[in-house]
């Protein structure tokens, strides 16, 4: 294994930790709003790290571009959809959890 292989393993594992964090947050957080926090933010970082890890193994610049495009689209979709879900929840009067 070359250095870039080790680096990519590192990035992929770090990415997996964030995906796990997102899922743990989804299960542990008390209401819809806090769960959205966990999903959007942790998964976005997780996917970013995985994209970096994979880009190191990519065969061409075009595939790097494709990976970046995937990440950007997921960012956009994640933040817009979480906003829409939160908005709908507020409108329907879903109470937010307070300590």
């Amino acid at each position: 294994m070359t250095l870039s292989d080790y680096l990519s393993v590192l990035f992929l594992l770090a990415g997996a930790v964030f995906f796990l964090a997102g899922t743990v947050g989804l299960l542990r957080f008390p209401d819809v709003y806090t769960r959205l926090h966990a999903l959007t933010k942790a998964d976005n970082v997780g996917l970013g790290l995985i994209v970096i890890g994979l880009a190191m193994q990519a065969e061409s610049y075009a595939s790097v571009g494709k990976l970046l495009l995937i990440w950007l689209l997921v960012l956009l979709a994640g933040s817009s959809i979480s906003h829409l879900i939160a908005k709908k929840a507020l409108q329907k009067g879903v109470r937010m959890w307070r300590r």
Partner: protein, 172 residues
């Protein structure tokens, strides 16, 4: 001849603002780049790619008004965004794994100074990826933000981000 040159240097060319040409060019370049990436740079694919890019360009010009961006501010914004969204991920991961679940949610209202339109949309989408904030509702330029930790100084953070968005769109 001189008149043509003068016409091109002025605000309008052939009755169309110069901004529009610039937007057309940058968007065209962006869409071409996306097609190139999607097809792994296959040259023969441009038979379809050319018209597809043109169509996308026309649709985008019809749907999204030309918004001149300040490129230098754009680079700064991207850096800020990458850094803060990384912090956001680390922050929420830490809270999710922590045995005592250290969260204290709150809902705050933040009046936006930004003009309605693309600038506000950029702001709303960015806020959701920053540490501990989730934009929950935008109504009459007032943004309701769900905060994961009510103790943190969210207003300052939002003001910094808004300042960067303003600069990105060349508003001062």
């Amino acid at each position: 001849m001189c008149q043509v040159k003068k016409a091109f240097l002025s605000e309008y060319f052939l009755g169309v603002p110069r901004e529009i040409y610039l937007t057309f060019l940058t968007r065209g370049l962006l869409f071409s780049l996306i097609w190139w990436a999607l097809t792994n740079g296959d040259l023969s694919s441009w038979v379809i790619g050319g018209p597809a890019v043109m169509l996308a360009l026309i649709v985008s010009m019809l749907l999204i008004p030309s918004t001149p961006l300040v490129w230098r501010a754009g680079v700064k914004f991207v850096f800020l965004f990458m850094l803060r969204s990384l912090m956001g991920g680390i922050d929420v991961a830490w809270r999710a794994f922590h045995p005592r679940l250290p969260i204290e949610p709150d809902l705050i209202e933040y009046p936006l100074q930004l003009p309605p339109g693309v600038a506000q949309v950029v702001m709303v989408n960015t806020v959701s990826l920053l540490p501990g904030t989730l934009s929950a509702e935008l109504h009459d330029s007032v943004l309701k933000v769900h905060v994961l930790d009510g103790q943190s100084d969210v207003k300052t953070e939002l003001m910094v981000v808004e300042k960067h968005v303003r600069r990105l769109f060349g508003l001062t």
